[in-house]
């Protein structure tokens, strides 16, 4: 070893220098943390729901029991409401009788048993007079100009739990899609090919199942046209002049029947 003091001094100075360098690197601030901001769009609004609240009891239970859009009192009386039970996860427990009930527009036979037929009244032009108990429940608006508003065009006069096509073919309620097809043939053809209606799941049939919606999952058969949706917010407007135009306000529910 060379005891030259110059070498020691240079080495010491270099050590101090590199220590200073290391110290300056160690003080590099970490990445700035994320600023937590409220979500711009509520997640619930993105939930995949059909266009209306038509939903079967089985779907209802699997969806977490959201009954906010359903009218149980259409059949139940408000004076003696049914007892609603919830499970441990606050999901509604549906009675077995409701297992296959389509809850928004009801199967007539649920309230009108076949042995107690309904008497219909007609006005001067031959249209059915909707009974007071049904007003606001059934919006008859099938067809743009000529209202297809005679119940028995589709429902069976003698057996209210059945449907029939114009040709007289009897159909069960769960075959309603075929009833629609008896008039809307081209739409039914598109639907069969997957070109009409919602399609969820897997495009690759080998990878997983495909989920199709039937006509009545989205369309109310008594008023099949959609009434409109509340649009979700548009892109942010950066220029303050444009911000005078407020975005859409929150409505009660954009899935109107």
């Amino acid at each position: 070893m060379n005891p030259n003091p110059n070498t020691s001094i240079v080495l010491a100075a270099l050590t101090v220098g590199f220590l200073a360098l290391a110290f300056s690197f160690a003080r590099v601030p970490a990445r700035p943390g994320l600023v937590s901001r409220p979500p711009l769009v509520p997640r619930e609004a993105l939930a995949i729901t059909p266009g209306t609240v038509r939903i079967s009891a089985a779907q209802l239970v699997s969806s977490g029991g959201d009954v906010s859009g359903l009218d149980c009192y259409a059949c139940h009386h408000k004076d003696s409401p049914p007892e609603v039970k919830f499970d441990a996860e606050h999901r509604i427990i549906l009675p077995k009788e409701h297992a296959d009930l389509i809850i928004s527009m009801r199967n007539c036979a649920e309230c009108h048993p076949p042995n107690d037929p309904v008497k219909l009244d007609y006005d001067a032009s031959g249209n059915v007079i909707v009974p007071a108990a049904h007003r606001g429940l059934l919006a008859m608006a099938h067809g743009h100009t000529l209202r297809n508003n005679n119940c028995y065009n589709c429902h069976d006069r003698d057996q209210l739990d059945q449907l029939h096509t114009p040709e007289g073919v009897a159909l069960k309620f769960d075959q309603a899609t075929l009833l629609c097809a008896s008039c809307h043939g081209t739409t039914y053809r598109d639907w069969l090919a997957g070109a009409h209606g919602r399609t969820n799941g897997y495009w690759d049939r080998k990878a997983g199942p495909i989920k199709r919606e039937e006509c009545a999952s989205c369309h109310d058969p008594h008023a099949p046209a959609f009434t409109g949706l509340i649009p979700m917010p548009g892109p942010h407007l950066l220029h303050p002049l444009h911000q005078q135009n407020p975005g859409p306000t929150k409505g009660p529910d954009d899935h109107e029947l």
Partner: protein, 309 residues
């Protein structure tokens, strides 16, 4: 041994001079290296030295994916599942959108943001829904994407969502100076966010206004992060890179529908494999009236608008 100060070379004066010069030199080195401290966008040397996507061996890709999972975990506190989905054999994706049915509700826009981990603020959206006057024109300059009525659809308008058209002849790919974007075998034009230099040539070249640039570091609330991520798809981006619609590679290359297709309440959006004659898009292209946006440019989009009537 004689004590000769001249030979030892170390007087008080020379010591002070030497140490002053040394500390000035060290300070100069530190100042010169200071810009390295701002290299924060590269979280590690591995990221800085990463190879081109197409040159990565499977083992190297595995290491890269693990590194990205680490980075996301460090930044968001949740460990995602990042995969490198490859194109499937015998598959070419095509998108079809029914202009007769679309009501302009923008659910697709926000489902896309949630699925693909786009920045919430500043806002980045891949889909732009144009409200078009119903006067027979397809001039996108007449479109308005800031519409905010109480209810849609509005009379006298139709709605035309525009997103990446996944062209067969993509101008954006041709202008990229570093080949950070390219067309894959299934027709999806992808971006390697680690290779992009952020020159924005592709944004200027795209006739459909489909590409978005990260002007700042994206901000995503950690609880809204989609943890199913793909390397060429929805993994979090960083400041200074381009991004765009990639047909949800993390879903579609696993056989599922894109998020915008699944959320559409009117069933206007259709997606599938055009090489499969039984797919819904094959049916639509065979049987429906189809419109191609800006067909005169020769970009040959894989995104088709169609009509029911």
């Amino acid at each position: 041994m004689s004590f000769d100060t001249k030979d030892s070379g170390m007087t008080r004066r020379s010591f002070l001079r030497t140490s002053a010069a040394l500390s000035a030199g060290v300070a100069a080195i530190a100042a010169g290296l200071a810009p390295l401290r701002k290299l924060g966008q590269y979280s590690s040397v591995d990221e800085f030295l990463q190879k081109y996507y197409k040159e990565l061996t499977p083992e190297e890709m595995k290491a890269v994916l693990a590194r990205i999972e680490d980075e996301v975990q460090r930044q968001y506190g949740i460990r995602p599942h990042v995969r490198d989905y490859k194109p499937m054999n015998g598959v070419e994706f095509v998108y079809a959108l029914n202009l007769t049915r679309c009501v302009g509700c923008r659910k697709c826009v926000h489902a896309c943001v949630a699925e693909n981990n786009q920045s919430r603020n500043p806002e980045i959206q891949y889909i732009r829904v144009l409200k078009m006057p119903n006067d027979g024109t397809f001039d996108v300059d007449k479109g308005d994407h800031n519409y905010a009525p109480k209810s849609v659809p509005e009379a006298g308008s139709f709605y035309m969502p525009v997103q990446c058209h996944q062209c067969k002849n993509p101008p954006c790919v041709r202008v990229c100076p570093v080949k950070a974007t390219w067309q894959e075998a299934d027709g999806i034009t992808v971006i390697d966010y680690n290779w992009c230099i952020g020159c924005r040539y592709c944004e200027a070249a795209c006739p459909y206004y489909a590409r978005r640039f990260n002007f700042t570091n994206p901000s995503i609330p950690p609880d809204q992060l989609n943890l199913n991520m793909s390397y060429l798809g929805n993994r979090p981006r960083r400041k200074g890179v381009m991004e765009k619609c990639h047909f949800c590679t993390q879903r579609t290359r696993a056989g599922r529908y894109p998020a915008c297709v699944e959320v559409c309440p009117t069933g206007s959006r259709k997606f599938g494999n055009i090489l499969d004659p039984d797919s819904e898009v094959s049916y639509i292209l065979k049987n429906k009236r189809v419109y191609v946006l800006k067909a005169e440019l020769g970009t040959l989009p894989r995104f088709f608008y169609y009509f029911d009537i």
